[in-house]
């Protein structure tokens, strides 16, 4: 799939679609969207859809960033607190490490 051959309206559609899909708890899609359309949004000579594409790209990027941050926080909290949480920690755990608390 290469964007250079896409007519601008299609680009916009695609970008928007990706953004929308990203709203279904799919930050990864957002990240991809941001990276993928970055050139289109910021490098290309301006065209009329570019403004919106830019908007979507920025939104996706921020969304993805927020998600990543949230996930990182959660993971750190879990790793630090798992033992303290006791039974809850274990029932939350998908892999419980062997041989240690």
């Amino acid at each position: 799939m290469d964007l250079t051959r896409l007519p601008n309206d299609k680009k916009l559609q695609l970008c928007r679609w990706y953004f929308k899909v990203g709203c279904l708890l799919l930050p990864f899609v957002w990240a991809v969207n941001a990276v993928w359309f970055f050139k289109e949004a910021f490098m290309k000579p301006p065209y009329d859809e570019q403004k919106q594409i830019k908007k979507y790209v920025v939104m996706s990027a921020t969304g993805a960033a927020v998600w990543v941050a949230a996930l990182a926080v959660w993971v750190t909290v879990f790793q630090l607190q798992r033992v303290a949480w006791g039974p809850t920690g274990d029932s939350l755990s998908f892999i419980v490490p062997l041989g240690r608390a």
């Binding site: 006791g86 039974p87 274990d90 029932s91 998908f94 892999i95 419980v96 062997l98 041989g99 608390a101």
Partner: protein, 721 residues
């Protein structure tokens, strides 16, 4: 000249052959076989025992010859962490040093030195089963002073050890020599070990479970979706019981029983080596022999004549907070034991426990004396007990042994009585269920190897006489053996046989009400065989005879039966052997072939088709039976494992235990390689780049250029792919 030198080389080389073409791996590592690893057990609140990292613990070998070595290791060992190689003699002195400062200790390889063995060696706590002992026991492993039972105990069995420990028995001394060699080759210069190749050990005993039983059981239950992993199992096995007369629902109330108990199991820090000669085997063998003898004194068919019964019981898992006896006591309190005809505490006339009686044998191996102490945990006089003790003494008269000194104290040594006194508190303490404990020590153990890997047959001076058994299963009598000098007064066989006789006759007296006048006595020959079976080789005459005839003839290994209780998941061999021995030695042989035997079903009896003395197969009718020896903690639903009411021991699961010795690099090689590699690579890069860029100028056109585009496209058509 090249060719010439080459020829020379060939000549040189054809003279000696290059034999081994093994993979390099075998040259680097040499695995240490036959080591027994310390493993991890967990109770309701703690984890005990050892575990390595999951890819093994690696440390520099350091042979501990005296305490200073240990000091040096923990304080100023520079190339650490170290793997301390300690003999059983030093172990007691150095272990605390390591436990205090484990930072520099990667692990311990413990070996038993053939030449000098320690005078005492016990990893059990100073007060075994301290926290499940009944009220009134004053022993405390934490408080200094006061009498403790196991004076030499290090308590490692109950402590969390921060490093792995492997044990090498005497038979594996060659492995130690291997390590010694390697050690002397590399590690002797203690001052500058750092940065040099050093002889190292890797101990791998990674334990899956952690924290405590509650956590590990929880984790075993809840684990990943697709392939769950088990982390730990509850300890447990089977109890064995056998009543002189069959006990059925209708007869049980009429006949009060005398409960005679002993323990099957023992323990040790290391996996698979728990001989427990003095700790448990002597007691168990005494019980088995006594039961045999009594069954000869009183034939089972005379049941209707007497108003008394004797219930012989072997508890299992006693080493770990009295698993077996706790379960039995608990079941009695619930009126569920024995399953066929449950006992009520009122039915039990007297409870005689044969405790640890093997220790004294080591001190008194050259005379016939064998002092006993009967612990009577009552302040007031209990007639049954006094009567019993008197009868014992009188019955012991013929042989001026054993001497039994009563100890009227509430401070009972470790024994199953504790369970009964805790769980059946009201009846036992009041004396409705009178209890007495036979032991060979008054206030501290005479057995200095309690629950240790060194508690072997040698420690009770047992030497197997290897006498043949007649096809009818008749054993040579003790007196005959003494007469023909096969055995001496001091031999444990004789002593145990006499104790068994005394006990049997006493019980005869309690059952019949009249002293025994006949001359049937326990045979030291039987004791000899039995000790051999439990202490030296399972491939012994008795077990062969007592095995299932349908066993397929696969003879058990020629090693001591493992007496560690093991996990409840599968039954250990020891209780099975004990049970079958009871059946074979006490049961009635029926003239029935196999099919008939299997079909037989008379209440109060069970029927076994065993090999028999001439291995032709016999049908045995016996009252022997087994009951689960799993702690009530795991039977009661929603029991709080932390409460500490019942034994809550679990054993961790592990994958592999291995040890190997090798030389660890000092880093010189790596450094050299890195330096050379970097320089060469950079050099090559520069040179190639230069030639690449100036190919056309350096290499005479149109001669070869290492790279240029014309050439590249030229090749395009020289090869078509």
């Amino acid at each position: 000249m090249a060719s010439f030198s080459y020829k020379v080389l060939l000549l040189i080389l054809c003279t000696f052959t290059l034999a081994h073409s093994e993979r390099l791996h075998e040259q680097i590592y040499s695995s240490i076989e036959g080591g027994a690893a310390c493993f991890r057990r967990l109770n309701g609140t703690h984890q005990a025992g050892c575990s390595s990292a999951d890819n093994g613990a690696v440390g520099v070998v350091h042979m501990i010859k005296e305490i200073n070595d240990a000091q040096w290791l923990v304080q100023n060992g520079s190339a650490g962490p170290y793997m301390a190689v300690v003999s059983t003699v030093q172990f007691y002195d150095v272990i605390e040093i390591f436990m205090q400062q484990p930072e520099n200790v990667a692990g311990i390889l413990l070996y038993d030195n053939a030449t000098d063995s320690p005078t005492a060696f016990s990893q059990e706590s100073r007060c075994p089963n301290e926290y499940s002992s009944a009220s009134g026991s004053t022993c405390s492993s934490t408080v200094a002073g006061g009498i403790v039972w196991n004076t030499k105990g290090t308590g490692l069995l109950r402590r969390d050890i921060p490093f792995p420990i492997f044990y090498l028995p005497q038979s594996k001394s060659d492995e130690i020599d291997k390590i010694q060699l390697c050690y002397e080759k590399f590690n002797l210069d203690k001052s500058n070990q750092k940065g040099n190749p050093l002889c190292s050990l890797q101990l791998n005993s990674f334990m899956f479970a952690a924290v405590n039983s509650e956590v590990c059981l929880r984790r075993s239950a809840s684990s990943a979706l697709l392939n769950p992993t088990k982390v730990c199992d509850p300890l447990g096995d089977n109890n064995v019981y056998y009543s002189l007369f069959p006990r059925t629902e209708e007869t049980k109330s009429s006949k009060p029983v005398t409960l005679v108990t002993a323990r099957i199991d023992t323990a040790s820090l290391f996996d698979g080596v728990s001989p427990g000669a003095a700790s448990s085997v002597v007691g168990m063998v005494t019980l088995l022999t006594a039961a045999t003898t009594l069954s000869q004194l009183i034939p089972a068919k005379d049941a209707h004549l007497y108003e008394q019964n004797v219930l012989w019981t072997l508890f299992n898992g006693e080493a770990f907070d009295y698993i077996g006896s706790q379960r039995v006591a608990y079941d009695i309190s619930k009126g569920m034991w024995p399953a066929a005809a449950p006992l009520s505490p009122a039915d039990i006339r007297l409870h005689v426990e044969i405790g640890q009686i093997g220790g004294a044998l080591s001190n008194t191996n050259n005379d016939s004396s064998w002092p006993f102490h009967a612990f009577v945990p009552y302040t007031n006089i209990i007639p049954e007990i006094n009567e019993f003790l008197d009868m014992m003494t009188s019955n012991a008269k013929p042989y001026n042994t054993p001497v039994i000194t009563p100890e009227f104290t509430m401070n009972l040594p470790p024994s199953s009585l504790h369970s009964f006194r805790r769980i059946l508190k009201n009846v036992t303490e009041s004396g409705e269920l009178p209890e007495v404990l036979l032991a060979d020590h008054s206030n501290t153990f005479t057995n200095l190897f309690y629950h240790s890997a060194l508690d072997e047959y040698g420690k009770i001076y047992f030497s197997y006489k290897n006498l043949t058994i007649s096809n009818t299963g008749v054993f040579i009598s003790t007196d005959e053996l003494l007469a023909n000098g096969t055995l001496k007064q001091g031999d444990p066989q004789v002593k145990i046989a006499r104790l068994a006789t005394t006990l049997a006759r006493t019980l005869y007296q309690t059952v019949t009400g009249s002293a025994y006048s006949g001359n049937i006595s326990a045979s030291a020959h039987l004791v000899d065989e039995m000790l051999y079976c439990f202490l030296q080789s399972q491939a012994c005459r008795l077990i062969m005879a007592a095995d299932y005839a349908s066993g397929g003839g696969s003879s058990p290994p020629a090693s001591a039966a493992p007496l560690y209780v093991g996990v409840a998941a599968w039954a250990g061999t020891a209780p099975v052997f004990a049970a079958h021995l009871l059946a074979l030695l006490t049961g009635a042989q029926l003239p029935a072939n196999r099919t008939v035997c299997d079909s037989l079903a008379e209440p109060g009896f069970s029927y076994y088709w065993l090999r028999g003395w001439n291995h032709s197969g016999v049908c045995i009718q016996t009252t022997m039976n087994m009951s689960a020896a799993v702690s009530p903690a795991f039977a009661i639903t929603d029991y709080d494992l932390k409460s500490g009411v019942y034994s809550s021991w679990t054993e961790s699961v592990w994958q592999a235990m291995s040890a190997r010795v090798f030389v660890s690099a000092g880093g010189g090689g790596a450094g050299a390689a890195a330096a050379a590699g970097a320089t060469v690579t950079v050099l090559a890069a520069l040179l190639t780049y230069w030639l690449h860029r100036h190919a056309d100028r350096i290499f005479a056109a149109p001669a070869a250029s290492i790279v240029n585009d014309d050439a590249a496209s030229g090749i395009l058509r020289t090869v078509n792919c």
